[in-house]
Amino acid sequence: MTAGAFENPDVAAGAPQHPLLEFWFDFKANFGAVTGLAVIVVLILLALFADFVAPHSPIVTNNAAFLKPPFWQQGGSIAYPLGTDAIGRDILSRLIHGARLSLLIGIAVVTLSVVAGTILGLVAGFFRGVIEIAIMRLMDITLTLPSLLLAIVIVAILGPGLMNAMLAVAIVLLPHYVRIARAAVISEVSKDYITAAKVAGAGRLRLMFKEILPNCTAPLIVQATLGISTAILDAAALGFLGLGAQPPLPEWGTMLADAREFVLRAWWVVTLPGSAILVTVLAFNLLGDGLRDALDPKLKR
């Protein structure tokens, strides 16, 4: 995966490149990362235009078409290209609308987690002492409990449902961002430029967000990309256990839960939603790995 980044000859001649250009040069040499990005772009387009692309409504049932196989199998028809589920809903349409749901889950969860985590981490790093200990102990507890178990406990408190499941996953992901932000503060705060900013009269908020935060954007971006894949996976797992999105929402994990009893009779209701989850999660992991290789100066020669 990292092969491309290493084979890359350093562009030494001439004026130094713009950092963004240099980043893109490293990134596009990584075949996996570019593939991941391409898949994600397709998924985003599908999600945006789901209403136009999907041949049917994701929740309207058709009594005349229960468990119809995909079109290439006997008994399938082109009207339902990937077949129908047990109550006659078009699988393809549900998958496309599911992409919208899964991307929303991933992005919303990670946004919430990154914002809250960064603020907590900056605060912990800045105001050492009791506040720091309280925040970091809290994060230790979140890290100690197995992630899915913690999410289940939170859902048990809040009640099942998509919103609560998203909140639970956001809390589970929190410690990573807190740690990154706190580490950045601790390593930067004693450096000269911070002292200079202080002397120039910068306030605490300015120091936190304008001076220190930019130093940890690279790891935060990488962690956020990888976090999207974790969020999609965990939310799907909660949906599968009946604790996340509730039917008839076309969430991929919930679709799998509905399909479990038909595993013997209709392979397509089981294989397709899972493939969708796998492809999406894999795409975000590839992108995240590629971003890390391109952004992390330590890995570069």
Binding site: M1, A3, G32, R137, L138, D140, I141, T144, L145, P146, S147, L148, L149, I152, V153, V155, A156, I157, S229, L233, A236, A237, F240, L241, G242, L243, G253, L256, R260, V263, L264, W267, V270, T271, P273, G274, I277, L278, V281, L282, N285, L286, D289
Partner: protein, 336 residues
Amino acid sequence: MLRFALTRLSLVVPTFIGITLLVFVLIRLIPGDPIETMAGEHGIDPARLAQLRADYGFDQPVLVQYGLYLSRMAHGDLGRSIVTHEPVISEFRMLFPATIELSVCAILFALCLGLPAGIIAAVRRNSIFDHGVMGISLTGYSMPIFWWGLLLILLFSVQLGWTPVSGRIAVQYFIEPVTGFLLIDTLLDGDFGAFRSALSHLVLPTIVLGTVPLAVIARMTRSAMLEVLGEDYIRTARAKGLPRFRVIAIHALRNALIPVVTVIGLQVGVLFTGAILTETIFSWPGVGKWLIEGINRRDYPVLQGGTLLIGAIVMIVNLLVDVTYGLINPRIRYTR
């Protein structure tokens, strides 16, 4: 060394107290009084309700209640299941061996494949094998294992009929639990038919639960080996004419294993997360399935007790890994 172990221990205690607080808050935040939940829908005599509230200490201030909860916990009393009326701790003790058996098999499976794959990938860096291993392990890492389990059932149990779909052992065998681990108990009985049955029930859940640890171990082993193989002492070992196998298997691997051991230790939490899903798919009678049934039946004492026990176990294992890490890597001991 003792000081190092004690420092680690002192960090664990507040985390454990935090977990007890979380579980206690869980009791208080869930809508409905636990006593009313216990009474069920038939209603309860008000005098009896007040009596029960007083018995369980629910008429006391919250802090006193937390103290009572801690003292009951210290006596091994984690409450009783609302559904079965069995003590939570004895149910846990009965089901836990099944989860351990599955988890141990899964981690062994992950090690047996992941270590050699990672080592060979590092030695043959940028070869097809290397790219293949890294591609497969990233796929394994991204795998929704609840779906992976269904796929394997579809292929091996339904299409090929090689393995059973669910459970731990075929119904005709009754094995008196001695250790609770069926693979060992059946052998102690000398019943090879039962052993074969238990083994065939284990195969698919082991693969499903071992997939994510396998991916993590392969990736970690590869990167640790790559780092070590670039060190000077490896070049020295090669230069003095040691056989290639000896350099890799003895000189390099020993140091590369240090970070890998930590990663294996950290898989305990991952294994529990996976066990919840794997046991649900394969109807494996372990702690994970028990917890999910608990939440579906609103059996909160089970959820609370189970969360506390699992949290405690993960913490103890992490502590042991930390201390082992200090033992095998003196640098850690002295720098902290």
